[in-house]
């Protein structure tokens, strides 16, 4: 008998169908990886098992846990089940914990809800659970508050909470999406260990094929509320049947066809750049402290080159980007484009600035929702005053065409576009002044793999057509590998290693680079090619 058995589950919310005939099985001590693009219904499937569905949701079909039906239970029975028999770990560790309670209290609460034991005893068991989640009490006392922990540590607290009572089933909904690769690797290892030790069943939801390929025993692939394919990991990946699954795999390993066209002339020269942020005063009358975010970074980017910059969250990548763009003052060093400094005194030089553009990570936040696309795309023309309207419109139309949209899209509002389309518009906006350099700060990180693959193709194509240079910033090593000629690895404000992409990836020299590469989840060699 399976631990979790979902049969013909259908779900609708306020009458809108969300899931259609979903069937999944999970045995004790096994890991089921559920993958699929955003909105495919992965989370809703998990929430149905927990019976934590939004208002207006109606589920039909059969869900059994250890042979016991779930859907027909009363709310009180579900309360008794949740936390004891089913634990759940959520995507966003930063907000998943109550900021006002200590981690000890929060872990102990799981125990106290289900067992009538004294608080002291519960605390002792909470400490044990935290220790199993690799937060030993001597380094992370129970009296810590969530804000005193990093994202990865918080995720461990959430995991400790979920496994405190050794539930039969653990559901993890994208538990590592918000974390760094290295942290992600640790958390994934932790989860795998716990499953093997306790004989739990783990339902692991993710959108990253590589993650499940590494750890799952079985895989289910979802699309638009349906399970399109399911089976044991190895066999399934070897022999994908459904076109969607194949496309997914292809996209995950996609590398755009590129013809390196780097010339020798340097375009961007960054020399010994330092950036300090003021931090709040330590004492009431003390001098404000400062945080050294970028520590003497130097590099050159040649015309036509695509240069990668990788490093974990908070290492200073975006800070460097903003400095190059002239948005923030640097405290020491020089930044030159075509030999001209970005800063003339304290003011950025508009001439230089016009030659650079940027594409940001969040396709939803990079546009003013109140303006039409035409106006949004034309915004960089602000630096070229007195441009006739007609010329402007032609330029917008051209830019939109270049990124695969139509000139007619200029009259629409941004909310009428999907995430991938928005990122195209962002690129169109970056292209419109015909810059020489485009900085891409995590420009594809928020996109689904398939969309991402198409955007990468577009970038490669544009680079070839317009002779563009890219500074490509990402924490995703596989993407950087696919699109860059050279790569730099950044750690805590410093560049620790730089070199041709393939060389660095094949033969990393710096220990940190090695660590990063080891942590990155990888699809088994030979797949999808």
């Amino acid at each position: 008998m399976s631990l979790l058995d979902i049969r013909n589950l259908s779900l609708s919310i306020h009458g809108t169908p969300i899931l259609h005939d979903v069937s999944l099985r999970l045995d004790p001590g096994r890991i089921l990886g559920v993958i699929g693009e955003s909105g495919s219904g992965k989370s809703m499937t998990a929430f149905t098992v927990m019976r934590l569905l939004p208002e207006g949701a109606e589920a039909s079909g059969q869900v059994t846990l250890d042979g016991q039906p779930i859907l027909s239970r009363s709310e009180a029975q579900m309360c008794a089940l949740r936390g004891r028999d089913i634990g759940m770990v959520f995507q966003e560790p930063m907000t998943a914990l109550n900021p006002l309670k200590t981690i000890g209290d929060q872990v102990a609460e799981t125990i106290l809800i289900h067992e009538k034991i004294p608080k002291r005893a519960a605390m002792i068991r909470a400490a044990k659970a935290l220790a199993r989640a690799e937060l030993p009490q001597d380094r992370f006392p129970l009296s810590r508050y969530p804000h005193e922990l990093s994202g990865g540590q918080r995720q461990r607290v959430v995991i400790a909470m979920a496994i405190a009572l050794r539930p039969k089933l653990l559901i993890a909904d994208e538990p590592t999406t918000a974390l760094d690769v290295t942290t992600q690797a640790q958390i994934l290892r932790l989860l795998t260990r716990l499953v093997r030790e306790d004989g739990m069943g783990l339902m692991m939801i993710t959108h990253d094929l590589a993650v499940v390929a590494e750890m799952a025993d079985e895989i289910a692939i979802m699309q638009k509320g349906r399970v399109v394919e399911a089976g044991p990991t190895g066999a399934l990946l070897e022999n994908l049947q459904h076109p969607y699954s194949r496309a997914l795999l292809a996209a995950s390993t996609h590398a755009p066809a590129r013809s390196p066209a780097a010339q020798d002339t340097p375009l961007l020269e960054v020399t010994a750049v330092h950036r300090f942020y003021p931090t709040p005063r330590k004492s009431l009358f003390g001098a404000p402290g400062r945080f050294h975010a970028v520590k003497g970074v130097s590099f050159k980017l040649r015309k036509g080159e695509s240069l990668g910059l990788v490093g974990e969250s908070g290492c200073g990548k975006s800070t460097l980007t903003r400095a190059i763009l002239g948005l923030e003052q640097i405290q020491d060093g020089a930044i030159r484009l075509n030999g001209r400094p970005v800063f003339q005194g304290r003011q950025p030089d508009p001439e230089v600035r016009r030659r650079m553009q940027v594409v940001f990570q969040d396709p939803y936040g990079s546009f003013n929702p109140r303006h039409r696309v035409g106006r949004l795309v034309a915004e960089p023309f602000h630096l070229s005053p007195n441009m006739p309207r007609a010329e402007r419109d032609t330029a917008v139309a051209e830019a939109l065409t270049a990124v695969g949209l139509t000139p007619g899209d200029a009259d629409k509002y941004i909310h009428e576009f999907s995430g991938g389309q928005r990122q195209r518009i962002a690129i169109a906006r970056a292209l419109i002044t015909r810059p020489e350099l485009i900085l891409l700060d995590e420009a594809v990180s928020a996109l689904d793999v398939q969309v991402r693959a198409r955007i990468l193709d577009l970038l490669a194509d544009l680079s070839a057509r317009y002779g563009l240079s890219y500074l490509f910033i990402s924490h995703d090593l596989s993407v950087v590998r696919a699109i860059t000629d050279r790569v730099m690895v950044m750690k805590a404000g410093e560049i620790v290693e730089a070199g041709p992409t393939e060389t660095v990836f094949r033969d990393p020299r710096h220990p940190y680079t090695r660590q990063l590469l080891a942590a990155a989840p990888r699809l088994p060699e030979g797949l999808g090619s």
Binding site: C79, M88, T95, P99, H147, V158
Partner: protein, 315 residues
């Protein structure tokens, strides 16, 4: 925590200084000569000059400001131009009415608003919720002096359960004193309770939609328990802010209600003092009220820190 308190204290002092200067300047430009008012219609010029000298009105402005502030620091608020008594005593007497009234109505406010707000939030979207929210909408919209008038007609004139106004005095015993504050406190509390109940409800709904409440539910807490154990404390910050503002409002804002019930409170004192150009009293009462507001804000911020460990650690 200490640093947090020290920073707050410093800003408290700075605010007080700024406020005292502002008050003093405003008072300076008020037209009307207090000496002339004291002496009435038939005063002779020499009498007037004598009185002005006696009251120190002939001193330059800066000196008078410093004297005023310096005096206040020693608890000496000067002598009222019209009452000829120390302003400190005057304020003390009035505070003995206004402060209990403010606290009483604040208590009513909280006692009504908390259960109502929580109850409505727990039943969001139900008919009961809609009804309660409708009633609070009415409560917010009703002019409190009108409500007070209606209550006087009903409870004092027709039913004669309460006296129509006036203050029995604390020496007459606790119950008679509280009884004479009841109608005014209710009149003051009704709109405030409505506001607070609405804030409570929406703050709760906000926190109920946070991820950590979902986490709590996943641990096996029922909806009601998750609300009580996790959402409530998190919802307290906006609620505390409002309570702080309400206390300040109740302390000074009773001015109209004090008139309706002819209570000898601070509001009426200031009203009378402004009309009589008893400037020293006006300054001191306004300063006191501002001080109360700033102090309450300070306390509210300390309360935030008690509620929220993130603030305690100083960032």
């Amino acid at each position: 925590m200490t640093r947090y308190i020290l920073t707050r204290l410093l800003s408290l002092v700075l605010s007080l200084v700024a406020a005292s200067v502002a008050i003093f300047l405003v008072i300076e430009i008020l037209p009307g000569d207090p000496a002339a008012i004291m002496l009435g219609v038939n005063a002779q010029p020499d009498t007037l000059a004598a009185l002005r000298a006696e009251m120190g009105l002939d001193q330059p402005m800066v000196i008078r400001y410093l004297a005023w502030v310096g005096g206040m620091l020693h608890g000496d608020f000067g002598t009222s131009y019209t009452y000829h008594t120390p302003v400190a005593k005057l304020i003390g007497d009035r505070l003995a009415v206004s402060l209990p009234l403010a606290l009483f109505s604040l208590l009513l406010t909280v006692v009504i608003a908390f259960p109502v707000g929580i109850w409505a939030a727990a039943r969001r979207g139900s008919a009961a919720d809609t009804l309660i929210m409708g009633i609070t909408q009415l409560g917010v919209a009703i002019p409190n002096f009108w409500f007070a008038m209606l209550m006087v007609v009903l409870f004092a004139i027709n039913l004669r359960w309460f006296s129509a106004g006036g203050f029995a005095g604390w020496d007459k015993g606790l119950l008679p004193a509280l009884k004479s504050l009841t109608l005014p406190a209710v009149a003051l509390a009704l709109p405030q309770a409505s506001i607070l109940a609405r804030v409570m409800r929406s703050a709760l709904l906000d926190t109920l939609s946070e991820d950590f409440v979902r986490t709590a539910r996943a641990k096996g807490l029922s909806r009601a328990k998750a609300l009580r154990r996790h959402a409530l404390r998190n919802a307290l910050i906006p609620v505390l802010t409002i309570i702080g503002m309400q206390f300040s409002f109740l302390l000074a804002g009773g001015i109209i209600i004090e008139n309706v019930f002819y209570l000898p409170g601070l509001g009426r004192l200031i009203f009378q003092s402004i009309s009589a150009r008893d400037l020293i009293t006006v300054e001191s009462v306004v300063m006191l009220l501002v001080f109360a507001v700033i102090l309450v804000n300070f306390l509210v911020e300390l309360a935030y820190a008690l509620v929220d460990p993130r603030l305690r650690s100083g960032r």
